[in-house]
């Protein structure tokens, strides 16, 4: 049984593979994309709950992809992955609506905490929206 859907975007094949394996082992539905373009093609509203997005990639960088994704599906949460030398970009990403950032290398425990928290927030937001819609229906039936 899958708990939620995750998209991993990273230019390093080995990193993507191991991430997918580890996350699937933890009962998450997991896809991977090797760069921003591919990720945007795969990305549909409601398809992924959380995106794990590397900041530094060849081609379009993580911040740009983040902005695009937030346009397509604002409720999808994005966790930025930064290298040692790109912490600032991670911080920048949060300004554009990323949920949080994680510095590579991260251990699985912390990653899972962040992903769960991101998913939880998405769920809460969706619930709020649902409640608001229900309330609206109740005020204005029909």
């Amino acid at each position: 049984m899958t708990r939620y859907n995750v998209l991993v975007v990273d230019d390093e094949q080995d990193f993507r593979d191991i991430m997918v394996k580890k996350l699937q082992k933890r009962n998450l539905q997991c896809d991977a994309a090797e760069d921003g373009e591919v990720a945007l093609q795969m990305f549909k509203p409601g398809k992924y709950d959380v995106v794990l997005l590397d900041v530094k990639m060849p081609g379009r960088d993580g911040i740009e992809i983040l902005k695009e994704m937030k346009k397509i599906a604002p409720l999808t949460e994005v966790v930025m992955l930064t290298g040692h030398a790109s912490v600032e970009s991670g911080i920048d990403g949060m300004k554009y609506g990323a949920f949080d950032y994680l510095m590579k290398p991260m251990d699985m425990e912390r990653l899972m905490e962040k992903l769960d928290a991101a998913h939880e927030r998405k769920r809460v937001q969706e619930e709020k929206i649902e409640m608001a819609q229900i309330k609206r229906h109740m005020v204005m039936p029909g």
């Binding site: 990193f15 191991i18 580890k22 030398a85 912490v87």
Partner: protein
Amino acid sequence: MGDHKSSYYKKLRKLLTAIFFLCGILPILIIASTSIYNSRQVAIQDIEVTASQVITHRHDVINNFLKHQVDLLSTLISLYDAEHFNTVETLNELFLAISQSGSIVDLQTIAATGEQLAYVGPYREQVIGKNYHDQEWFNEVLVRGVYVSDIFSGYRNLPHFVVALTDPLKSYVLRTTINSSVFNSLLHSAQIGAHGDAFIVNTSGELQTPSLQHLESLNAQEHQLLRHHTGTQITRIQDQLYATTWLNTQNWLLMLKVHIPDMLDSYQEHLHRTIVIIVITASVFLITAFFLSHFIVSHIARADRESTAMDQQMAHIEKMANIGRLAAGVAHEINNPLQMILAQVGWLEELLPEEDPASLKNHQEYLSTIAKIKHHVERAAVITHRLLGFARKISAEQEQVQCNDVVLETLSFLEKEAQHNNITITLNLDNNLPVTMTEAHRLQQVLLNLFDNALDAVGQDGTVTISTSVQEDDISIKVEDNGPGIDHKVMQQIWDPFFTTKEQGKGTGLGLSISQNIIRTMGGAITADNKTEGGAVFTVTIPIRQTTLPNQERRPQ
């Protein structure tokens, strides 16, 4: 290099001194020499004017004197008839009447035939019975009516000259001898200067009156002056100035001779005064030029030194930044594969528990190998992290800095050395020290330098005390040692670049200079002092800041 530089500065100093000196003294020399030359010309002109005045005056006096004698005789001739002159008695009366002035020595009457008629005077014995018919002057008188002779000894063997007149009928000649001393004295007052001379010469250049300088004859150049001319003529021959004028008779030339140097007293005085002034001015200029060039060159030398220090400092910073970039690059590149190894091992570790330990012969070995791989990869990761941290510090970024931590970290580099030399390091850190925005790496560079100096100063078996405290709005870090302290002379140069008391090759002399620069750019100050109980104390104060300086923008990596 130092010798080369110092000889260059020495040369520069000499050149500047010479230029300043020449610029000052040349115009003065030109003005002074012009003035000296002019004053000499003016002095000579003065002499010429004086000489021409004197000679004109003497010319008049002598002419008057001779005219007077001639007039006297002609008056006698016109007043008395011829018989009156023919007897000694009557001639004697006349002589007595006219010889009162003392200028006439004798009176004599000679017949037209040359026979002497009467004589009154002191030379009666010598001239009695003489016939003058063959005498040149006698014939001249008869022809011209009036005659003034040259000086001659005549029958009397004494130099004298005569004035002779004949009556209008030319029946007799009245002759008188002029008192040479009276006549000569007319010339005495014509002398100008101690070596001046005044005399009369005849047309052939023979002296008619004694030279005041006892000359016997004219020299060749003076003979040139015998040309006939009207009025007064001024001629300069070397140091001599000649004023000449022909007397009325046209037979005698009055010559005035002035030795020019005699008359240049005021010029000499002016010359001496000018030379003294020039010497004084020259020495003043020389001293001024010397000190001025000394001053300028020492400034240039200092500026050179400072710019060299600045260059070296810049080069050092540049080098460190390059090392930092290199380290960061290497660390970054190694970090990625390390992380991949770690991730892969983590995956193994995750999967292993799913295996049946019984079917896996070396299950335990796998587990311990995984643990070892993880351990060593992490070790490598720590090193790459340190490198990245080092690069970060070198990038001179401002961050929240706890100075106590910087002190402790810096000290950790030197602990071994202190232990080795048996130096006790006493820490006196303020636990409530606030953090401040500054550049930790650069502060560390300064502290490292100060601690190093302190250990060097103590040498062996001493104490170095490091204390931190808050002083109003500043954080103060004090480094004290119980070494020999800082000499008064050394204290003045302690911040100069390239100044070092360490033995050659050990110190660059840049440490404190760079430290001061760093602390100043942080907006702080660094001071050195001696403790009363001995030893030196260096105090660094840096301002407490909660935000970065506005001009220090953060550089994204």
